[in-house]
Symmetry: C2
Subunit: 355 residues, 2 copies
DNA sequence: CGACGCTGAGACAACGTTGACTCGACGGGA
DNA sequence: TCCCGTCGAGTCAACGTTGTCTCAGCGTCG
């Protein structure tokens, strides 16, 4: 296990402009000008300063620089997601990172795990580090604590879920319409008994998707039945249990609409464990990796995560560039991807149902 | 699309200690003491300062604070991964985030996309922001550019891949042994013609896994055959193509060892497209979500990502806490997970092979 | 009763950098 | 030839905070 020598016998501290200036025989300010590529410096001096900087391994201190600079910008933004290891959050933050990269901006990422207290803590921690702006997939239902920060000039953009008690730019998927599309798709395949399985109803996206579900049923003249509706949390286990219970009902659903990717995966597992994956139709909200490779492939309402992230990041940077227009709420359309599971047609009433 | 009113008519700047001090009628230093919870302040004054701070929405400026403080710590670390949207990278950075969280440290994440130039740029960008330390999954093969940074006191820990031309703490999976286990598993099922499909051989993990592959063959007295070895990049497309070509050979392999998760997924797709998923045995290196739910389930050599990330983060923080012991290289064992695809036994020479 | 220690708060400088200003040298036009 | 504008480099202070020192007030003890 042991490898090398002590990493650094004397961890001498980082060289500063002062030292570079001394070595190059110029004033600190001249070093500053060279570092910032101010064009009015004699090329010979530029060369001398560069040489001295390289020799010392000088790296500018952006922390000090942003403190002194007029705009106080740190070229860093914060991103708060539900869980950076979850594919949706990961794809979202990666997109934001890509947009930020184009501008030399780095991203501080924090995971909230659906904990409103953690949201506040992390938002504060980011603000204390003076990030230029924040992209937030909120966990909480009260964002008034951000009002003063917003007023102090921190730009905020909400993605995937809307802010509450706060006026801020927002980018959402068209959750309601997506759910309507999903349910209509199942109705078209002849299903009349379509279960809803989703995240906790306090989460705004879940609520919107549920609303779409109910709306589509209503338009389709299907009576709403509480018994086949489950607002489980976003955990595979609870989704599995809920699915098992639904299908064990005396009058079980012939189709499932699952409104979140973890829930969808739980349902997929449960259906396979019961051997019902080719019997019970299933459409999930949110695409997920390998959904196409299962048999049957899982039909989903795919969110355009790339578009969500890119739009949010671009809105943020537009604000940072001085855009003072009224806040906007942008809706990104979703798309039905047919892969098989959603195209299973309704059976004649099952034996169980006819008992 | 349009929503609210202008977000902030006058984006007045953030309150400072000076303003809090003025409002509370005390000296700036006293505010500092209250903020830092120095116990020698009169409770009445503490209350007055707190009130003033709340009223103004004061938030300390960690940027300024870390500049002035003796240790210059920013309570921020950097994490460079291959692609934060890839499940392996995402899980790794999430683990690091969790460890950091316990200490109130935030994580700046950057994706390298296997680009050594980007590695250098991002490492520099992080250092310029004076992160306390760096956890790196390197893309490049020369890390000497970090020597001076290391000497200047920036702590570095490498994960998943080792540093080159630099002595630094390292946490690796036991890649060679994992590959040996995979190949042995296939040998045990009777396979004698086992293809290797992996990432570019310049990547150290890929090289180690390839080495394990060769070693296991040698020990098993199987002659190495260049024809069934492909060092494709880590893209699904190239893995699909490579798999197709391998199986179209006059003497095709009866088993596949894929040495990286994206490559594994590509191979899985290709096998299914060819209808060979129940015929050709397959073990992949790296677990991936839903590997268990496919049919057959994909047998894998699972890395203990949690352990990798946690160990790396803990090593980093130990250094930050002043550990000056020699650098260490820790190896994390891997684990074979049997799910079906790796347990397919060798067939009698296929018709094609006997032509 | 006076010197002394202690406690709690303020004054001041400094962290590394940059904005605003200054100053010397040089060149061109009157 | 002289003055003024220009250009390039330097001086100084300040960003928001904290380490160090100072100092006033008070209680205590010989």
């Amino acid at each position: 296990m042991t490898q090398g020598e002590p990493p650094s016998p004397s961890p001498r501290s980082r060289p500063t402009m002062r030292e570079v200036a001394a070595l190059a025989g110029v004033a600190i300010k001249t070093v500053s000008r060279v570092v910032n590529e101010v064009p009015t410096v004699d090329p010979a001096i530029v060369a001398r300063v560069r040489e001295a900087a390289d020799k010392l391994g000088y790296r500018p201190n952006l922390t000090a620089s942003s403190l002194r600079r007029g705009d106080g910008r740190t070229a860093t933004i914060g991103m708060l997601v539900e869980d950076s290891a979850n594919p949706f959050s990961a794809a979202l933050s990666r997109t934001v990172e890509n947009v930020a990269r184009e501008r030399g901006v780095l991203v501080l990422v924090g995971s909230l795990d659906e904990d409103p207290a953690r949201e506040r803590e992390l938002a504060r921690a980011l603000i204390d580090r003076r990030v230029d702006g924040l992209v937030i997939v909120p966990a909480g239902r009260d964002h008034s604590y951000l009002i003063s920060e917003q007023r102090s000039g921190t730009c905020l953009v909400f993605v995937d879920r809307e802010p509450s008690l706060l006026d801020a730019d927002t980018v959402l998927s068209d959750n309601r319409q997506g759910a309507v599309t999903a349910v209509n798709h199942l109705l078209k395949a002849g299903h009349r008994r379509i279960a809803y399985l989703g995240d906790r109803a306090t989460i705004s996206t879940a609520a919107q998707r549920f609303d779409g579900y109910r709306h589509a049923l209503e338009v389709g003249h299907i009576e709403y039945d509480d018994e086949i509706v489950r607002h489980t949390g976003a955990s595979e286990e609870s989704a599995i249990t809920a699915t098992e219970r639904l299908l064990a009902l005396p009058n079980p659903p012939t189709a499932l609409f699952t409104s979140q990717n973890v829930v969808t995966i739980g349902a997929v597992r449960a259906l396979r464990a019961l051997g019902l994956q080719d019997t019970v139709a299933h459409v999930g909200f949110d695409d997920f990796p390998l959904a196409d490779i299962l048999s049957p492939g899982i039909s989903v309402i795919a969110q355009d995560v790339e578009q969500l992230g890119r739009t949010a990041a671009e809105m943020l940077f537009r604000r940072l560039d001085g855009d003072r227009s009224p806040t906007r709420a942008v809706t990104i359309p979703t798309r039905l991807i047919e892969r098989g599971s959603g195209e299973i047609t309704a059976l004649a009433p099952s034996p169980r149902a006819s008992i």
